[in-house]
């Protein structure tokens, strides 16, 4: 059921974080709260041994903070004046890790990644593994979710709680939106929506055979949150076909046009709107059938009906200032 309260959403960060939001930062769903590098096989470079130092003393001589990007030949550590000994980077990459023995791991960078917030709120925890955001939103707890987190404008894709979302209703005009698909969405709809740039799909049920086609045979009923470029699907009721109860569907319709996010790890749909949908007399959608295609199912007065508080929701934000990660912050000025 729908509940509006303060929620918490944790966002796992892959290895290789460069910058991340700091505790206390205010973020909006869609803001980048972490960014970093995708790393390939790391090289182990002798550090303390080469310099003739005890591992515990090696940190002191390090010229580059762990977590920094380095170029081949960059000086990493150095001791001595008349007879200097030094450690240099053997390749371009990221200084990733320093071992207990005082050796260094340097990994080439093959790609970059970003993690976006799925809640409007305040960063409550931030470290190299997780950024947790706490904030208030309307929330609908689902049964299972698949794929990466998704952020976009919520939009009704069907004209009733028992209807199935047809593939023909999906086109590129729905790119970036979270589409509510009624009782069931098929594998064809999921793949087509992904190809059209749809941010995510929400439905009462999804046939598990379709999920296997899209996500592989290892998919389970617990869901499969991931970071890779895959469709995002939230099953609200279960698997197969499940008509949405009116208490679920009507608020979904009323919230059409509002910013929303699917947090796949917790299988939750967050909607950021000040509309009061908890009351029994919550407005039902005015669906205007003006022809074929998804445009036919856009609520006629999305903001007028939904946003009774009067504040029109802004579209999802795509970029933001970031504070450096803890490992960057301390020694920023000591770079090579």
């Amino acid at each position: 059921m729908w509940r509006r309260e303060r929620w918490s959403a944790d966002h796992s960060l892959p290895i290789g974080v460069t910058t991340r939001a700091a505790v206390g930062d205010h973020v909006r769903a869609g803001d980048i709260i972490g960014a970093g590098a995708t790393l390939a096989g790391a090289l182990r470079v002798p550090g303390a041994r080469r310099l003739g130092l005890a591992p515990t003393d090696f940190d002191r001589e390090l010229r580059v903070p762990v977590g920094s990007d380095v170029v081949a030949g960059a000086l990493l550590a150095r001791v001595g004046r008349r007879f200097p000994r030094s450690v240099t980077a053997p390749t371009d990459g990221r200084l990733l890790h320093i071992t207990v023995d005082g050796d260094l791991y340097i990994a080439p960078i093959v790609d970059r990644w970003k993690v976006r917030a799925t809640l409007d709120g305040v960063v409550a925890r931030s470290d190299d593994a997780v950024v947790e955001v706490e904030g208030e939103a309307w929330c609908l707890q689902g049964a299972a979710a698949f794929g990466p987190d998704a952020i976009g404008e919520l939009m009704l894709g069907v004209d009733g709680p028992g209807a199935d979302l047809a593939a023909s209703r999906i086109d590129v005009r729905l790119g970036g939106r979270i589409i509510v698909g009624g009782a069931q969405i098929s594998a064809e709809v999921i793949t087509r929506a992904h190809a059209c740039g749809v941010a995510g799909l929400v439905a009462g049920g999804v046939p598990p055979a379709g999920l296997r086609v899209v996500y592989g045979d290892s998919v389970t009923a617990a869901g499969s949150p991931s970071r890779d470029d895959r469709p995002t699907v939230l099953c609200l009721m279960g698997f197969g076909s499940a008509a949405l109860p009116r208490a679920v569907f009507e608020p979904l319709a009323a919230l059409g046009g509002a910013r929303a996010a699917i947090h796949t790890r917790s299988a939750r749909l967050f909607v950021f709107s000040s509309a009061e949908i908890g009351r029994a007399e919550a407005p039902s959608p005015d669906v205007v059938l003006t022809g074929e295609g998804p445009a036919a199912y856009v609520p006629a007065r999305p903001h007028a009906d939904v946003d009774q508080g009067g504040a029109r929701e802004e579209p999802a934000q795509s970029d933001e200032e970031l504070s450096p990660s803890a490992s960057d912050r301390g020694a920023r000025g000591r770079g090579p």
Binding site: S12, P14, I15, G16, L39, A40, G41, A42, R44, L96, H97, T99, V100, Y105, A107, D127, D128, A129, V130, A143, P207, P208, A209, R212, D217, S218, V219, T220, A221, A222, G238, F239, G240
Partner: protein, 433 residues
């Protein structure tokens, strides 16, 4: 006579549960013995294995670290020999990189000698590193973690082990307990001297663990046990929706038959994991006394429990089978005589009232009815042993080992239906399907 006049005191209640889910990552040396040792630890403690990394793992340092981060282990169990020291130290560095920020931090349990523990402890910093001299100590500690400090919880796996031990002691034979629940599958082999070998697999069961059975066994392997045709998507939907249903015995025949199919594969995969961990699977299959508990023991008919057991376990000798539902008493349900014969053979069945001969044709499967609780000895066709018949009598299983099912639906479905019919495992009226 003494009559108490005091106020009534509450009866001390013990709660039987699976305990909290404990996520364990296994880091082991390059030798197979090391791999088996850590797998055995995890299975014996009922922990969920979330990652396995070998000392000579092909994954890069970054990949290993990412795998450990994604696994979010509560405990990391590490085992290896002297020549694995450097490689295991590197894996601990990967653990530091991957899980350094995890809260609460994983604990590292080492089943290694003292000098090696000294080295590994350095590389495990800042994680808490504990060295254990013997495997049972780690198992006990892991179980304590599953209890999460709640002393009132009696772990289900410990209870199953007690039951197997009691059966072995009572009958003075090797005994096997097979337990399949919503979320777990257990095999416990107990010997008369009290020694046990246990494998508790989580999540692998008939409810919340049903989807894991399908992932591990494949949908076709579950479907092959159903005595009627069903298309894969419909079956998958039923299995996935089981994970969201509340606990309780199956009420329709279709649900019972689906649970039977899942239970067979759960038991077969528990056996596979037990073999992989170096447990004595041959002794499990030839145990003279077998106790079935949990959901498999709660099927409406004794024949259903017996059929699941013989299909999943594939016993190889003469066994007396008992079942004990969670809400009921133990009962002897039958005796299984497994015959592997290439040509028709005879076996002698001897009991107090006389002796008889049964002609066994390869592939045959059926019950020999006799009194409900009769001491029976069998001899011939490569099988010899004795036991007691139960409610169903003596089941002679000559389908061969390993049990191979026909691939084509047209041949397999009649065969499976015939096996169900032989043990009265299906109702006359199939309308409930």
């Amino acid at each position: 006579m003494t009559v108490s006049t005091g106020t009534s005191a509450p009866v001390e209640q013990t709660r039987i549960a699976l305990g909290r889910s404990l996520r364990v990552a296994l880091l082991h040396g390059r030798e197979a013995t090391s791999r088996r040792a850590v797998a055995h630890l995890a299975l014996a403690s009922g922990a969920e294995i979330v990652a396995r990394v070998r000392a000579t793992d092909r994954r890069s340092f970054v990949e290993a670290a990412q795998a450990l981060r994604d696994a979010k282990p509560d405990v990391v169990v590490i085992q290896g020999g002297l020549k694995d020291e450097a490689a295991l130290a590197e894996l601990l560095e990967a653990l530091r990189l991957g899980c350094g920020a995890q809260r609460p931090m994983p604990r590292v349990f080492g089943l290694v000698d003292t000098p090696m523990a000294r080295v590994l402890r350095l590389h495990a910093s800042p994680f808490e590193f504990e060295r254990f001299a013997a495997a049972p100590e780690i198992v006990a500690t892991l179980r304590d973690l599953r209890r999460a400090g709640n002393g009132d919880i009696e772990l289900r796996d410990a209870l199953i082990e007690d039951a197997a031990r009691a059966l072995a002691t009572t009958n003075a034979t090797t005994a096997l307990a097979v337990d399949v629940t919503e979320r777990s599958t257990s095999l416990v082999l107990a010997r008369p001297d009290g020694r046990i070998e246990a494998a508790h697999l989580v999540p692998l069961g008939l409810g919340m663990g049903a989807d894991h059975v399908v992932v591990r066994a494949s949908l076709d392997n579950v479907r092959r046990w159903l005595p009627w045709p069903i298309d894969a998507p419909a079956l998958l939907e039923r299995v996935f929706n089981r994970t969201r249903q509340s606990e309780g015995p199956a009420t329709t025949e279709a649900a019972v038959l689906l649970e039977m199919a899942l239970a067979r594969e759960a038991i077969a995969h528990a056996l596979r994991d037990a073999a992989d961990a170096g447990l004595d699977v041959a002794a499990m299959r030839s145990a003279p006394s077998i106790l079935v508990t949990g959901r498999v023991a709660s099927f409406p008919k004794a024949g259903q429990s017996l059929l699941v057991l013989v299909d999943g376990l594939e016993p190889s000798a003469v066994s007396t089978v008992f079942r004990e539902p969670d809400k009921g008493h133990a009962e002897r349900i039958g005796m299984v005589v497994s015959v592997v014969a290439r040509r028709p053979a005879k076996i002698q069945i001897v009991r107090a009232s006389g002796r008889s001969a049964a002609r066994v044709v390869p592939g045959s499967f059926g019950l020999v009815t006799m009194g409900a609780d009769v001491e029976v000895a069998v001899d011939g066709a490569g099988v010899r042993g004795h036991g007691r018949s139960g409610e169903l009598g003596v089941l002679i299983d000559a389908r061969g080992r390993p049990l191979v099912l026909p691939e084509r639906d047209g041949e397999r479905i009649p065969a499976v239906a015939q096996w169900h019919a032989a043990l009265q495992a299906t109702a006359e009226d199939r309308s409930s399907k």
